[in-house]
Amino acid sequence: MKGVKRSVYISGILIIVGVLIGLIAFMRLYNKPHTDVNASDADHTLAAKTLLEAFKTDENNANKLYLDKIIQVEGEIRDISAADGNSIITLGVEGSEESIICNMYPTENKKALGLHKGQQIRIKGICTGFLLDVILVRAVISD
């Protein structure tokens, strides 16, 4: 009789612990943070021209290679603007109307102020694809 009571007691505790672990795991997964581009290594490092050419010549293939990947791209600043309080740095490629539009992370606003057109720069961001231009989001200036 005593043994039965004890096993009920133990299994009760086990169930509660199990549920708690499950709940914590679920909450952690549910609240999983977005990729920290700053702290992550780039999946690909390439010149602005190479990235743009890849999308212009074979968009499907470039999508397979670069979509959702952290890309570090080096190029010349064609334009610096802002939208909704975030800086947007456009990297141009000579002889090409298309460009690479880097939507900067809010932390980069201050750094972006110190930049000027024509300057060479390296930017790391997540590639989301190609419209008229290649788009990078959550981008940071790498040094």
Binding site: L29, Y30, N31, K32, P33, H34, T35, N63, K64, L67, D68, A83, D84, I88, I101, N103, T128, G129, F130, L131, L132, D133, I135, V137
Partner: protein, 182 residues
């Protein structure tokens, strides 16, 4: 030969004087969607929308990258891209349409453009009718508004386990501020 090309040049020049700037464009348009259920509210925003409006014909072309939608929770963003809209297979959503009451809108008689068009999401195209508030300020032409889309129309399958978390109809809001194209 030379005379002909001069005439053509004159004609082009004259044409561009008469119709100075007809195409308007934005690469930083804003489209967001909002799903409301008693269980949870889900919102995602895309700030890299490409939209072109041709005021001579009233035609509108919009193109967006599905991966550019930002969710509050990374997990939701992952599920959205991988399971629901399959953005590796269908990286873009597009809209092409035409302002039906262009003359009224252009003359300022009516601030609401009625746009008929086709919306393609997840590889599936459906006709849609959208009302867009039009505002012209200096050289800027903005279109703002919202409309509802039914998730099932676009063959987007929501697993039974999260069916109560995601609304059958989501509200899509847009804010597109176009500037003259070049």
């Amino acid at each position: 030969m030379q005379i002909r090309s001069i005439i053509i040049l004159i004609f082009i020049g004259w044409h561009s004087l008469l119709f100075p700037q007809e195409k308007y464009l934005t690469k930083q348009g804003n489209i967001s969607f909002y799903s409301h259920t008693p269980v949870e509210d889900i919102k995602a925003e895309n700030k890299q929308v490409l939209s072109i409006v041709d005021l001579s014909t009233g035609e509108i072309a919009i193109s967006i990258l599905m991966k550019s939608f930002v969710f509050e929770k990374a997990l939701m963003q992952e599920h959205f891209n991988e399971n629901y809209v399959e953005s590796d297979k269908f990286p873009k959503a597009t809209f092409t349409g035409k302002i039906q009451n262009l003359q009224e809108v252009m003359s300022g008689d009516n601030g609401v453009a009625e746009v008929d068009g086709k919306l393609t999401i997840h590889g599936i195209t459906k006709p849609v009718q959208i009302e867009a508030r039009t505002d012209t300020e200096n050289e800027k032409i903005s279109l703002t508004g919202k409309f509802m889309i039914t998730v099932a129309d676009y063959d987007i399958k929501i697993p039974a386990i999260v069916r109560n978390n995601i609304a059958r109809e989501v509200e899509v809001s847009f804010k597109l501020e176009h500037l003259p194209y070049r």
